[in-house]
Symmetry: C2
Subunit: 432 residues, 2 copies
């Protein structure tokens, strides 16, 4: 399997044949029972929050498939779970692949978990095809990617990559007031039988490469009838909180000219931000998704309005100046109220490695699959691997572009295509 240059892949008919569509689909179905529910429209969703009993159960289920194959488990201080396929060359840097196992509260059966199961399927196929690899391959399940229970998401990959210290979120609490640190300690205690490993590149060696398979969460592959998305990168994100303060008044008595109405100034501010964010190319993403008004009484002029801004763009030349202009745009749009603008998250666009992209594209094409290069609009753990090692992602189609919803769906053939491409990519990279 040694490649002649950095992007070529050999055809691997035995390996491709060793990927089992039915086995992978059955595992997806078994995982979907942990936190599974059926919504009012008959869709089968999953609610499996990070560090819950269900999350622990899903990890045990994964181990029940991985350990009989001879894969070696380990867990780090953030609860990131690894399954190692050993390579033939002592000390060679590992190729890593995986994703996360937690879900959104009203989530689907594929987001995250499929990436972990595809990595297992790929490694199992490599082993069952009798292929040795020079480098080890490590399957990874990152802790708390979704951030639905404990915000923000991507805690596992952020700590692993040194992006944040590992104790950053110990005092973060969920909606019931439970501490992240306590739930993490409970997970580690429950998995005391699994060997502890150093925390990522903070305490251990850099991997050779990282590849994350994921559903697209958008409509492009389906609408264009394509099999595989070769992901070029993840757009940058800047999140803001705008808090407007006015003055309450009686809705019947206070003349409009004398009011300091926080709702009206909020509307003016959103109008101004819409103008700032106007983009004829439709690449920019600008969302006001959360609004809170106080006292929120129908016959009282509001003295408080808070709203969030989720602004994303793949190009730093747009992301940085437009994001920097938000504060001044807000202040200029106010008429009678005061406002504070707080940036709560700032992630520059991540560009995936050209070698990994080329390897994915070549593997897919050698299998007769159609591809396109495309950016990811959503966050993924992969973005925190970009500064660490050559990183890439493999997308498969999402029906209707739906994700974070029980209607999320990819076909058995589509997820099998993804696992076959991943198997060939891992085999190729692990022999570089």
């Amino acid at each position: 399997m040694a490649a002649s240059d950095s992007t070529s892949v050999e055809a691997a008919p035995n390996l491709v044949a060793a990927v089992s569509e039915s086995r992978q689909w059955d595992r997806i179905a078994q995982m979907a029972r942990l936190g599974g529910f059926t919504d009012a429209d008959g869709h089968h969703g999953v609610n499996r929050a990070a560090l819950t009993k269900l999350d622990r159960d899903s990890r045990r289920l994964l181990l029940s498939w991985a350990l009989p194959l001879g894969l070696k488990p380990s867990v780090d201080v953030l609860g990131n779970l690894f399954l190692r396929h050993e390579g033939t060359e002592p000390g060679a840097a590992a190729v890593m692949a995986g994703s996360h196992m937690d879900s959104q509260p009203n989530g689907g059966r594929f987001d995250g978990i499929w990436g972990v199961l595809a990595a297992l399927e790929a490694v199992q196929a490599i082993r069952e095809a009798g292929m040795a690899t020079k480098r080890p391959i490590e399957i990874v399940a990152w802790t708390n990617e979704e951030g639905g229970r404990f915000a923000p998401g991507c805690m596992g990959s952020m700590a692993w990559s040194g992006h944040r210290p590992p104790d950053t979120w110990n005092d973060t609490r969920d909606g019931d007031g439970i501490r992240f640190g306590d739930e993490l300690a409970a997970l580690l205690a429950a998995e005391a039988d699994i060997p502890r490993r150093p925390l990522g590149i903070v305490e251990g060696p850099r991997p050779f490469a990282y590849v994350e398979p994921h559903i697209e969460q958008g409509p492009l592959l389906e609408s264009e009838g394509l099999d595989i998305g070769v992901v070029t990168g993840i757009q940058g994100s800047r999140w803001f909180l705008v808090e407007i303060e006015g003055k309450t008044d009686h809705a019947g008595t206070a003349p409009l000219s004398l009011r300091r109405d926080a709702v009206q100034d909020m509307v003016r501010v959103i109008n101004a931000l819409n103008a700032l964010m106007a983009d004829p190319t439709d690449v920019l993403r600008f969302t006001v998704g959360r609004i809170e008004v106080g006292p929120n009484s129908s016959n009282t002029v509001a003295d408080r309005a808070r709203f969030t801004i989720d602004f994303r763009h793949p190009d730093p030349a747009v992301l940085l100046p437009k994001g920097d202009a938000i504060e001044a745009t807000v202040q200029a749009a106010l008429t009678t109220c005061r406002a504070t603008v707080t940036e709560r998250f700032h992630a520059l666009p991540a560009r995936f490695d050209a070698m990994v992209q080329d390897t994915i594209e070549a593997a897919a094409r050698s299998q007769g699959l159609t591809t396109r290069r495309m950016p990811s609009g959503a966050f993924h753990d992969a973005q925190f691997l970009v500064p660490v090692c050559p990183t890439g992602m493999i997308f498969i189609p999402s029906r209707g572009g739906v994700s974070h919803h029980p209607a999320e769906y990819s076909t058995p053939a589509q997820v099998a295509n993804g696992a076959r491409v991943l198997a060939q990519v891992l085999a190729t990279l692990a022999n570089r």
Copy 2:
């Protein structure tokens, strides 16, 4: 005290002198202890919701002052409480005066309760001045004017006037799930010692006139340095609920051109409504005070946005066509979402009786007080009396125009002025 025509009043120095500034102020202070609290700014507020133990206590306190004077108590099926000063002419229609004793949750010491205490002070002054009146005078405390615990407000006066059947709100529940009907029954049981009377004009005779003293709840009298507001009427109100339905999407992946963003369509709708409601004369009142967004997540495009409209105007020629245009304005402003518009309250402007206004103005001027005619922006029980009998209101200044807040304040001299004017008005009307 017989007047020579319908608007003249005689000077009544003995009566004016019989009004006690200190006695009234002390009663206001005693009432303010029932539900009293001190807020973070040191203001002394009141939280005395309708039909609570505190409300019952305040009625007993009122009775403890009224009964020794010889006033006759009675209560009707809605819990409206009456204290009757008997007249000299058998069967003559009564003059009524009063207001309500319940408060807003974060309310002040004057809104409502002062109107009842002013009526008591006026009647006590008439009796202590040794004046007989031809007509009886009835002090009234209406049940649940504020609507803060059980919505809507003005239940007592609406049922009394036949505006709504008396059992309309039996199943209305407060925030703890307690039924209005049960709390009303408990009040009536606790006041079984008080004679029951027929319910208003539904079961009994029409009064001769009704006069309600109240704080202004606006800044006009204070800013113009005037003593007494002669209220010309209550502006009309129309309340609407707008519910916008779009579609959730991932804030990072969904192109703006494909979204059905309920927040963005809500902003468009509010812009359009602002244009519809633009009023260079600043008489119109238009308020969006309550907003709810769903799922209200910072990185999810909203599929639901609900907001309230509180629209008021004193002129039906504005209130009716602009209110009727709201639905079409909403629908025309939508781009991708659907919306429903529901009118939840509709009260035409109420015009107070010219004779009552003239009597109030003449009484105030005969006492050397300055006056202005002015509309009321807020609701009052008086508006439901307008179709029943000649009705009017007396306003006194509110410091800073503040009401429904612990900072609500009028001076001892201002509330005494109001009681003196009311005493002369009642004596005049009760001798017509």
